[in-house]
């Protein structure tokens, strides 16, 4: 069996396990579905009056504006939840047995990533249907929506690699806040409630250089049918992917050394 075939075999086995666990145990799947849905309802419902602020110029309405944020957030937190699962696997000894049994350790991380992306796609579908039911306006074409899905899946992959790097270094579920907080801060230091030009104070200064701003603006461009900052977003995602691959690889080496 070639190295590629071994990697693929391990990745698919780990991915299938993750997907099977997620879809057969509601306790695993529900938080990753309910949290984005809840944020969507709370933000799009409670803050909808914000669209009347002077210079708020998003043509598809506030529900669509918040849907784009929730897409990115759901994908990012789906990756973090996968990190929790990896940490749990280490805590209960499963990951150590996996490291002994798998002929290719990189495949393990790829498998976790595939399972996170599958879960993210499911969660996005649920939130999208909820958005349509609540009267969300979708002005983007099918190609725009597919681009939005691709963006969200890329975010899911990056956040999974980030969380995996932490989980494999610390190897305990107590690492949860360490995985979660940076993602939370990165997302909320972007234009979450209003477009960047309406964000005030120090958050505006930070948001200008925050890669999450480009992701949100691109996601909003796709849903409104006016793609924007696509190149910058692709470059940001490629850069973050490269960095988190290195980060996860370091974590894997750390776990291998720990035995």
């Amino acid at each position: 069996m070639s190295a590629l075939a071994r990697t693929r075999s391990v990745a698919f086995a780990v991915a299938w396990r993750g997907i099977h666990n997620a879809f057969t145990n509601p306790a695993f799947l529900l938080p990753s579905v309910l949290f984005p849905l809840f944020f969507f309802i709370a933000f799009a419902g409670g803050l909808s009056g914000v669209q009347n602020v002077p210079n708020f110029d998003f043509k598809s309405g506030y529900t669509s504006f918040q849907f784009a944020f929730v897409c990115v957030q759901a994908a990012a937190f789906g990756g973090v939840f996968t990190g929790f699962a990896i940490a749990a696997d280490f805590e209960f000894g499963f990951a150590r047995r996996l490291l002994l049994a798998a002929p290719n350790h990189g495949g393990i991380v790829i498998g976790y990533m595939i399972s996170a992306m599958t879960r993210a796609a499911f969660v996005l579908a649920v939130v999208f249907v909820a958005g349509l039911i609540s009267g969300m306006s979708v002005d983007g074409s099918l190609a725009d929506l597919l681009a939005l899905l691709a963006l969200a899946l890329a975010v899911s992959a990056v956040s999974t690699l980030w969380a995996a790097g932490i989980a494999m270094r610390i190897r305990t579920m107590q690492a949860g806040p360490v995985m979660q907080m940076p993602v939370f801060i990165l997302l909320f230091l972007a234009p979450v409630y209003v477009p960047l030009n309406l964000v005030a104070g120090w958050v505006h200064d930070v948001a200008r250089f925050n890669p999450a701003t480009a992701l949100l603006e691109a996601a909003r461009g796709f849903i409104s049918g006016e793609p924007t900052k696509v190149g910058i977003t692709a470059a940001c995602l490629a850069g973050m992917f490269a960095l988190t691959v290195l980060w996860a690889r370091g974590g894997l080496r750390s776990a291998e050394r720990a035995g």
Binding site: P31, L34, F35, F38, F39, I41, A42, G45, G46, L47, S48, G49, V50, N52, V53, P54, N55, F56, P177, I185, F188, L189, P191, V192, Y193, V194, L198, V199, A200, G201, W202, V203, H204
Partner: protein, 264 residues
């Protein structure tokens, strides 16, 4: 501890258990830092992110920071309730409560002592949020007296949530169950008028939910002291609902404790 309990009065028993609860919080920095820091981070982010909303006609404040200062008080109370409940659940799970039940410790002391830790967290976090707000330029429209009433109301609210957390812990008896209630706490906060004034919420269903959500009135009571001044109606509603919640959940907790001790 049991020797000390055997010959002690009720206040001493309460003091012993409350001291233990406080020491347990102080020994776990994650329990102290995260519940205090997280609401402040969110306040800083929201104050900038939603400041544009103050340009809406009818928005009750010129600064979103002033408007939003009430939110950390609520979040701090929620975290205190969650942590207090989890500590009690741990005591149940590891048998500490069963061992206490074998001592002459009264049920009232047990409950009051447990709530002492949560109350301590409520006082510390409320003072910190107020000082932080003042340092960042929040003006308290009701003056120094209003700031004291704000602290008092925040502590009553914190106590009410702590009673709820205690009730859940005593009924369920596991940390996981208490943790499972965490989303409910946040649903209550997010589906209230905490982030936006009720009269400016455009979605009818959301405004209706916020109107029936008691958390809205707790937030509005705290907020009124910061941005309005002395608003008797808002304060009466906030104190009334919080006090009612204290009475209700204290009674439920007391009953749940009796049932748990009988089972023991």
């Amino acid at each position: 501890m049991s020797a000390a309990i055997a010959h002690s009065s009720l206040p001493t028993q309460v003091g012993l258990l409350a001291g233990r609860a406080v020491r347990r919080i102080l020994r776990q920095p994650a329990q102290l830092v995260f519940p205090i820091l997280f609401p402040l981070i969110l306040l800083g982010v929201n104050a900038s992110g939603l400041d544009a909303a103050t340009n809406l006609p009818g928005f009750p404040s010129a600064s979103y920071l002033d408007f939003a200062l009430a939110i950390p008080f609520m979040q701090g109370a929620l975290f205190a309730a969650l942590n207090g409940g989890q500590d009690l659940a741990r005591d149940i799970q590891n048998g500490f409560l069963d061992r206490l039940a074998l001592t002459p410790m009264s049920g009232a002391a047990l409950l009051a002592g447990q709530l002492g830790g949560a109350l301590f967290m409520g006082v510390v976090s409320a003072m910190l949020y107020l000082v932080t707000g003042l340092l960042f330029g929040v003006g308290i429209a009701s003056g120094v007296g209003g700031a004291l009433v704000l602290l008092a109301l925040a502590i009553v609210i914190s106590f009410a949530f702590a009673c709820f957390g205690t009730f859940v812990a005593l009924r369920a008896g596991t940390g996981e169950a208490v943790q499972g209630f965490f989303p409910l706490f946040f649903v209550l906060l997010f589906l209230s008028s905490a982030f936006f004034p009720r009269n400016l919420i455009e979605q009818d269903w959301f405004r209706t939910v916020a109107t029936y959500n008691p958390v809205s009135y707790m937030v509005e009571g705290l907020r009124s002291l910061v941005i309005t001044g002395w608003d008797a109606q808002a304060l009466l509603q906030a104190f009334g609902i919080s006090a009612a919640a204290v009475v209700l959940f204290l009674a439920l907790s007391s009953r749940a404790l009796r049932m748990r001790l009988v089972r023991t």
